[in-house]
Amino acid sequence: MLSHLRTLWAVFTHTVARRETLLYPEEKLKLPARYRGRIILSRDPDGAERCVACNLCAVACPVDCIALQKTEDETGRWYPEWFRINFSRCIYCGLCEEACPTYAIQLTPDVEQSEYQRHNMVYEKEDLLIDGTGKYHDYNFYRVAGMAVGGKDKGEAEDERPPIDVRSLLP
C-alpha cells in the first residue's frame, strides 16, 4: 500500500518534468552528420562530377534501386550519361557509399522525402547532383589515380612516380 502511494507521488512529480517528445514539424530533427538519409552525387574540389560511372554502387545495391549509363567526354574521362535512384525502393543501407571508389555517391542527414506521387520518388541525375564536395572536401579521384585523362598523363598524379620504361635497363 505504501509503495503504491510512493509510486503515485513519483508519477505526480513528473508534472513538472521536461517532456521528451520532439514536436517534429515545428522543431527540426537534429541528425548526426553521418546519418544515412537522402543520397546525393557530389563534385570534386574543381567542380567536376566525381562519379566515374563504374556501376559499383548499382551492383552493391541490395534492392537494385540505382541505375546509370556510362559515357565519356572528349578527354576520355568517364561520367554517367544518366543516373537514376528510385527512392521508393531505397532502404538507405549505405552500401553504395561504401562501394563508391571516388566518394561520389554519399548519404546525407536529410530524411524529409515525403511525396504524394510515387513517381516523384525517382530522382534523376540533375536532382541528385550537388554543387559541393559533400563529406570529403579535398578528394579528387583523377588527381590521385594513375589513369590518363585530358590534361593529365600517366605519372603526373599526386604521389605518383613517372612510369618505368620496361624496355630499358637504365636505372
Binding site: 503504491h4 509510486t7 503515485l8 505526480f12 521528451e20 517528445t21
Partner: protein, 320 residues
C-alpha cells in the same frame, strides 16, 4: 410557478449536457494528463491544445461501421451499451451540486445511487455475454465477480456516513458536513469507498473486465462505432459520478469558504477526477485472484471494522 418549472428543466438539461460534455471532454483531458505524467504531450494537434480531438474522435466513431457480429445475440448486444449510459446518467439525478442545482431531492438518494451503480454491471455482463466471444465472456465474468465483491463493502463503507447523519438524503448529508467534512471521522470509509468506486467504474488499476493486454478489450471486444462509444463515454461518466459521490459524501459537497458553492464543488470534483487519471498513469493492474483476495480479505474486514467502530462511537457519545 412557471418560472420554477423552467428552472427545473434548465437544471435537468444543464446537468445532462454538462455531464455528457464533460465525459466526452474527459477522453481528451485524460490523454493529455497521461501524457504530462509520462513526459510526453498526448493529442495536441487538433485545435488549441488539441481540444478538438474530442470532435475528431466523435466524428470517427460516428463514421465507423456499426457492426453487429452475426454470431451475437442481437437484442442484448444492442441494449447493453445503452444500459451503462442510462443508469449512470440516472444516478446523476440525485447528486446535489449546489443548494440550487440538483435534479431530485430524494430521501433515499444514497440507496438510489447504489442501485444505479449496481445496475451498471448488467451493461458489462450482458455486453460480454451477447458478444458470444470468449474474451468478451471472460471480461463479463470478471466484471460480475468484481462487482459482487466490491459492491458489498462499497455499501458498507457508506453505512458509516449514514450512521453519523441518520439519513439517506444526499442533500442533508452535505449539510451535515458544514462544520467538519466526513473524511475526518470516516477516513477508512472514504478509503474503502474510493477503492470500491474505482472498481465500480472499472478503471485502472481495477480494469480487469477490459484488461487490454490479456483480453484484447474484454467485454467490448466485438463493439465498434457509437456502441463502443457509449461504453467509453459511460465509463468516463462513471468516473465523474464516483468523484462527485466522494465529494458529496466525504468532502463536504459545495461547502467551502469565500468562493461560490459551484466553484467549490467543481474544484473538489476536478481533484478527484485528476486522482483517477493519476491512478491510471501510475499503478499496474493486479492479477484476478489478487484482486479478489484484496477485496474479501482486506477491504471487507476494514469496512466492517469501520462500521463497528463508528456504531460504537455513535452509540456511546451521541446516543442515537
Amino acid at each position: 410557478m412557471t418560472t420554477a418549472i423552467w428552472l427545473h428543466i434548465a437544471n435537468v438539461f444543464g446537468i445532462l449536457i454538462a455531464v455528457v460534455g464533460a465525459s466526452a471532454l474527459l477522453t481528451w483531458i485524460e490523454r493529455r494528463m497521461l501524457g504530462l505524467w509520462q513526459d510526453r504531450y498526448g493529442p495536441n494537434r487538433a485545435g488549441p491544445f488539441g481540444i478538438l480531438q474530442v470532435l475528431a474522435d466523435m466524428l470517427k466513431l460516428f463514421a465507423k461501421d456499426d457492426w453487429t457480429p452475426p454470431f451475437a445475440d442481437r437484442a442484448v448486444f444492442i441494449i447493453a451499451p445503452a444500459i451503462i449510459m442510462v443508469v449512470i446518467l440516472l444516478a446523476f439525478a440525485v447528486i446535489p451540486i449546489t443548494p440550487a442545482i440538483g435534479i431530485v431531492d430524494m430521501n433515499i438518494g444514497l440507496l438510489f445511487f447504489l442501485a444505479m451503480t449496481s445496475l451498471s454491471v448488467y451493461s458489462v455482463v450482458l455486453g460480454g455475454w451477447a458478444s458470444n466471444n470468449k474474451y468478451s465472456l471472460l471480461g463479463g465474468l470478471r466484471s460480475a465477480a468484481q462487482m459482487i465483491s466490491y459492491e458489498v463493502f462499497m455499501a458498507l463503507a457508506l453505512a458509516g456516513v449514514v450512521m453519523l447523519t441518520g439519513t439517506f438524503n444526499l442533500r442533508e448529508i452535505v449539510n451535515a458536513q458544514s462544520g467538519l467534512w466526513f473524511v475526518v471521522p470516516q477516513f477508512f470509509g472514504f478509503l474503502v469507498f474510493s477503492i470500491a468506486g474505482i472498481a465500480e467504474a472499472h478503471r485502472l488499476p481495477f480494469d480487469l473486465p477490459e484488461a487490454e493486454n490479456e483480453l484484447i478489450a474484454g467485454y467490448h471486444t466485438e463493439y465498434s462505432g457509437m456502441k463502443f462509444g457509449m461504453f467509453f463515454v459511460g465509463e468516463y461518466a462513471s468516473i465523474i459520478l464516483i468523484s462527485a459521490m466522494i465529494v458529496v459524501l466525504f468532502f463536504g459537497g459545495w461547502h467551502g469558504p469565500w468562493l461560490p458553492p459551484i466553484v467549490w464543488f467543481l474544484i473538489k470534483l476536478t481533484f478527484f477526477v485528476g486522482l483517477f487519471i493519476l491512478l491510471r498513469a501510475a499503478l499496474p493492474r493486479p492479477r484476478y485472484d489478487q484482486l479478489m483476495a484484496y477485496g474479501w480479505k482486506f477491504m471487507l474486514p476494514l469496512a466492517l471494522l469501520n462500521l463497528v467502530v463508528t456504531g460504537a462511537v455513535t452509540l456511546a457519545f451521541f446516543n442515537g
